[in-house]
Amino acid sequence: MSYIELKDITKSYHAGNNILEEIDLTIEKGEFFVLVGPSGSGKSTLLRMIAGLEEVTGGILKMDEKIVNHLQPKDRNLSMVFQNYALYPHLSVEQNILFGLKAKKISKTEQQKRLKETAEMMGLSDLLGRKPRQLSGGQRQRVALARSVVSEAPLCLMDEPLSNLDAKLRAQMRVEIRRLQKQLGLTLIYVTHDQVEAMTMGDRIMVLNDGKIQQVGKPITLYNEPANLFVASFIGSPKMNIGRAEIKEAPGLLVNNTLAFSADARLQEALEVHKDIVVGIRPEHIQPATHYEATHSLEVVNVEQLGNETSLALDVGGELWTAKWPGQWEIETGHLLEVYISQEHLSFFDAQTEKLIRPASFSGHGEVQAI
């Protein structure tokens, strides 16, 4: 059942200058939906339009089959968590949590019941008497979440809620938010600029750039079959290596004037219609030539030892490519390194339209392991 429906939504502050364009989207009940994009892509604006804090310039916004374009935020039955938490500095934690319930005139006994439950769930029971300034960043974050939970609204909107926390706490809160959402069966729309958050938390992700939808889909789909170059380089860390490709007669394919690949007839045919071609390859697909025979040798520019894996910067025809090898490798910079790159790991994009021509054929089978 579709719960939220956006039809051809546009937003502009000045006529002719659209911040959001042609946003078509449906979000299911109970879904964890992530809006991700670089800053200025319009993701927060879209979220605020769903909340009713920004006016919808054009298009239809539906919730529960009803058009809500002009409905007040309070009548949309939702809760929201802000990036800066928006806690009232002069109120105690308890008053902050109950703020919305008081405004909605919910009975005192019900308020206390919900407060107790929520405080226990969020581990805030001992902090109820404190003021926000006496709390740590993570605790403030929890209060903001508790305020959202206590409202019992079926839809929760979050606008970069973790960006003010340090890395360790962020990883912990990611899990907590995810668990909370599943536990309460919330429909959650989550805005972030961090693709790791998007990948790890979302049931589905929408990538937004310059006010346009780039791609909507499951995290793994976006990773394996990015619809265009933007998604390809935005999703995944380190980012996908991109190189310009030329079609040559004898070997088949030459990337960045350095890497040669053989191309079979079917691939040749598929690529013929496109003038300029860009290929992309994930860092983990530039592999050590241990199990396989080396296909290419590249100069090592830099080596980063992360303990569990080794990140290599390689020079490919003047551009730096990244390779990620599991485990620890002793490699010296400046040397030529034998690597194995399979043609089936290459994704092909049209350089002009930036659209995907052919995803890496390896992906889809053998990559994802279902248990």
């Binding site: 928006a86 009232y88 002069h90």
Partner: protein, 271 residues
Amino acid sequence: MRIPIGRKVITYLLLILAAFLIFTPTLMAVVMSFMTNQDIMTGSLPSAFSLDNYRRAFEQFPLLHYLINSFLISIIIMIGQLVLASLAAYAFVFLEFKGRDFLFYLFIATMMVPFEASIIPNFHTIRDLGWIDQYTGLTVPFFAMAFGTFLLRQNFKQIPKELREASQIAGMGDVKFYLTVVLPVAKTSLITLGVYGFLTSWNMYLWPLLATTNDNVRTVQIGLRQLQSQEQMNDWGVIMAGAVIVIIPTLILLFLGQKKLQRGLTEGALK
């Protein structure tokens, strides 16, 4: 930082000297208010301590009545200013309407018109309204305050707009948000503005002089002036006693206000 003892001594000596110079007139007023008339006239040092001047200040003139008038008028002006300035500032910060910024700059521009320039039109207005010799005539012209609106607007702007948005989602209207969130959060500025408004009104001289013709509504500042010209020979002891009584509220407010302000400033600290 450690300061050498010699420099410390010099610094403190200079500070004491400067403080003494600045405080001398006040000190003289206080001392004179306790001196007998004879001592004042001969210019000698006080030979006897007497509360006579204070007794006479209250007996000879309706000083208590003047004080009550001043107090009432200052309180009314202060409250009026706080209410109007905070409401106007709220509109300038949280409500969105066409020409908001233009209107605000127009508002600010009125700060450039000195009060003395608008005193005649103001006088005409209250005379035509029949407000001469009335509390309304003494207070209402001061309610609208560009400076206060400006001060509070700057302060309200520091309130993150997410607080407003969160309350919107919770279903809270503008009035309730103004009362339950904006005013408590901006408490410090409100107190500052209140103290400022009260003291300014308390020390007002020109307007009460123009807008009043009888002792019933006169403020204490006018009363002081009356003390001075009542007789051929000024009774300086009584005048000084009156002046000392008049500055007491100012001092009290400053001391209380300072404490409150300091607490308010630290309380507002939120990352």
